[in-house]
Amino acid sequence: MRFSTSTPTLCMAADMNTPLRILAGLFVMLCCSSQAAADTQAEYRLKAAFLYNFVAFTEWPADVANTLNVCVYGPDPFGEELDKYRGKNVAGRSLAMRRVNSVDNLGSCQVVFVARPVIGNLARVLDSLSGSPVLIVADSPGAARQGAAINMSAEQSKVTFEANLAAVRRNRLNLSSKLLRLASEVLQ
């Protein structure tokens, strides 16, 4: 008998790491079967490319420094995929990547990706960054409604994203019209 971390049947909205894991036992929390790892790798390779584009299509205030720190808050699902964008130039600013375990250490971040296992702490992230020029990105169901600027989802084999324009503007940022046009939904 196996436990799944979540079944699509009774657990669609909220659970972390949703369908990516299969577990092999009640007393086992098999966190990463090879298959799940392979799926995750491909998915997050694509999501890393999206994240790069989100940063590129964000209008940053002039007072933001020349290095944009892209922080992954929580267990890093990207692995090396995100590091491929290290040093890339975006609108005259270069990208740096950081992994952060606690909201206490988000102060130097310009982009925060909230990993699924800690999406329950999104309110904490918003508490600490509200009003600062920080782009908050997530890939958990409902995250845009809860205040993330951009939220990705993997549906029907593809990655789509929604934007929360009110949340973006609260943090003194703006998103290009092209990005908004391609979003599956824009919350005002």
Partner: protein, 659 residues
């Protein structure tokens, strides 16, 4: 990338994710946003296929749901699942599962675990799910429930279901939390302080302490036959329904290592004068204290084809009960001490197979019961016992083709009471279409009688029965999972179970009772459930269960409603800045132990959460039994009452502050 191609077929999946070519890794940087939106990663239906391979009907309750519905006890959360009904005798809450819920039972036929560590004690086999469950519900990340027999992997107690509660980690707290709640009319007050963090050295720490105190309600109680010469007594039981609880939880994890420690101490005053003690006497209570701890190691080896889990655990449960008999206070205790270990290997290195091998051993160093008339010197009854259990299990999940797979498993248990027992299971799973999965499941589970059932004898109420044999349950089940749309899922489950040698409390004359092996019980049932979510954040899940349970030689079982209906609806109310959770439950009529009928009832519960009023603060309002529906649950054989009144409407305000 090689490892991806190598390992994926082992798990028997066609890799739709290869639609994203391996060499595309670097090219993605060059793609435009439009092109990225057209890039295929991995089919969602493949994910579902993987989930649907699980050879059981698994349900998961998430932290979000616990919050949305304002559940404060484990039984409230589990009652939202198909086929589960509750009964509360004002001492303990009991889970009925698939029509089985003997009044007075302490959930002995359900295995309850926290982070995989068993809570069922060794004197009573009890799995406590009310305030006596040792963990605050706010510390739970998710609750996993497997309906049906789990004996082929989990052994003792896993007869009708396995509940595993997964706690949050420090990383999921990331700071401090302070919670306080007030509930009327029970005058219930509770509080909790939690802190969790991932330290700079990578150690994940979580600590939590909490407590509650409740005055309860003044209940008008009947005690038929409790008066002089067998006359009836009734009256208002004033101040006899109080409850108090203290809890502490600590977890420390680093890499493959995790340690947890759980302490709880809950006392419930007893207005029912259970075990035929003095009616309306003050001071009756039952108290349960737990210490449960485990050290766990889990890691992957051999290119991720071998997963190794090792754990060492210990548990301690203390029961204390005070009962007055003819004015003399009688003090009963039950003391459980156990420890043990488990080693488990999961190997995926053979194509199309997933092999599981495990060994679990538990030394029950203490299973003691005492009974003491406090007005006389010395302890009248002292029954000291100890024992062991050891189980070996093996299972293979074998992918036969793209659409067919099978699971075969067997656990062999040996213990000091019932000797050697075999618990097999078999499953055949057919992915009939990308949207539809059919599963045929068979499983057997055993339970050895516990020390209370077998050894307890006080000459006042109960006689021992050393000849008591264990129970066996065989279950056949057909499960259909069908996905109507991305956000709309249906499940149907048709099952049959039969239990041999059911252990029940039986009168043996002279006002004495004894646990005896009863006749065969047979049951059949159907559970239908639906789950729909909306992108706006709403979710509706509902179920309807029919269950028919009876002794083969005639006669129904007490506390076994034929019909159960559940509806759980939650959604944000953006115009009000609130989140709403509403649940509706129907429990059909059920038999009481005297053969009379306890009426069915509808219950509504409502919860509203405001999270935007102040930074870091969540305020919630919960109304249980919204329409103040009067209803009753069946009492047990050892109770004066054949039916026990349940609480009317209650209102709770809760504040959660994060810092």
């Amino acid at each position: 990338m090689d490892s991806k191609h190598k390992t994926a077929p082992l798990l028997g999946l066609s890799l739709a994710l290869l639609a994203l070519p391996a060499q595309a890794a670097t090219d993605l940087i060059e793609l435009s946003l439009e092109q990225l939106l057209e890039t295929t990663v991995s089919s969602a239906s493949k994910y579902e296929q993987k989930q649907s391979e699980v050879a059981a009907a698994v349900s998961v309750i998430t932290r979000d749901e616990i919050k949305a519905f304002g559940w404060r006890t484990l039984d409230q959360a589990l009652a939202s699942l198909p086929g589960i009904h509750l009964s509360y005798d004002r001492q303990y809450s009991a889970l009925g599962t698939r029509g089985f819920g003997l009044p007075g039972d302490y959930n002995t036929r359900v295995l309850l675990a926290i982070n995989g560590n068993r809570l069922n004690d060794v004197v009573y086999d009890g799995a406590l799910t009310g305030r006596d469950f040792p963990l605050d519900l706010d510390l739970i990340e998710r609750i996993e429930y497997i309906a049906g027999p789990g004996g082929a992997v989990y052994g003792q107690n896993a007869m009708f279901g396995v509940v595993n509660v997964i706690t949050r980690h420090g990383s999921k707290v990331d700071g401090g939390e302070l919670a306080a709640a007030w509930q009327s009319p029970q005058s219930l007050r509770e509080g909790r302080l939690t802190w969790g963090k991932v330290l700079d050295n990578g150690v994940d720490v979580m600590l939590s302490a909490g407590g509650m105190r409740s005055r309860g309600e003044d209940l008008f109680m009947d005690y038929p036959g409790a008066g002089p010469g067998g006359s009836n007594v009734s009256g208002l039981a004033v101040g006899q329904d109080g409850e108090r609880d203290k809890e502490f939880f600590a977890r420390v994890g680093r890499g493959p290592w995790a340690f947890d420690f759980i302490f709880s101490d809950r006392r419930k005053d007893d207005p029912t004068a259970s075990f035929f003690s003095d009616a309306l006497a003050d001071g009756h209570y039952q108290r349960d204290a737990y210490v449960v701890s485990q050290m766990q190691y889990q890691d992957n080896f051999a290119d991720n084809t071998l997963n190794v889990l090792g754990r060492l655990f210990l548990g301690r449960e203390r029961f204390y009960g005070l009962f007055n008999y003819s004015g003399a206070p009688n003090y009963a205790t039950g003391s459980s001490d156990w420890h043990g270990g488990e080693l488990r290997f999961l190997y995926t290195g053979v194509p199309n197979h997933k092999l599981l091998l495990g060994l679990e051993a538990q030394d029950n160093t203490r299973a003691d019961q005492t009974n003491d008339d406090l007005t006389t010197p010395g302890v009248e009854t002292e029954i000291l016992s100890s024992g062991y259990r050891i189980g070996f299990y093996a299972q293979d999940e074998w992918r036969l083709s793209d659409t067919w797979s099978t699971t075969l498993g067997l656990r062999v248990d040996r213990n000091n009471v019932t000797g050697t027992q075999w618990s097999p299971r078999a499953a055949l799973i057919w992915q009939a279409s990308p949207q539809t999965t059919l599963k045929a499941l068979y499983g057997r589970a055993h339970r050895a009688p516990n020390a209370f059932e077998r050894d307890y004898s006080d000459g006042l109420a109960q006689l021992a029965n050393p000849a008591l044999v264990g129970e066996t349950v065989d279950t056949l089940e057909l499960v259909v999972d069908h996905r109507l749309a991305r956000d709309f899922v249906l499940r149907g489950s048709l099952y049959q179970w039969s239990m041999q040698d059911i252990v029940t409390l039986s009168p043996v004359g002279g006002g004495l009772f004894q646990f005896q092996s009863g006749n065969k019980v047979e049951a059949s049932g159907l559970e239908v459930s639906a789950d729909k979510t909306w992108d706006s954040g709403g979710r509706l899940r509902g179920s309807l269960s029919f269950q028919d349970v009876a002794y083969v030689n005639g006669g129904g079982l007490a506390n076994s409603p034929n019909w159960l209906a559940k509806l759980n609806y939650s959604r944000p109310l953006p115009w009000a800045g609130l989140r709403l959770g509403y649940e509706l439950q129907y429990d059909a009529k059920r038999l009481a132990v005297d053969g009379s009928c306890v009426e069915g009832y509808w219950l509504s519960n409502l919860n509203l959460i405001a999270s935007k009023w102040a930074k870091g603060l969540e305020v919630s309002l919960a109304i249980q039994n919204l329409f103040d529906q009067p209803y009753q649950h069946p009492g047990s054989d050892s109770s004066w009452q054949t039916r026990i009144d349940q609480d009317g409407r209650s209102v709770r305000v809760k504040l959660d502050y994060r810092f």
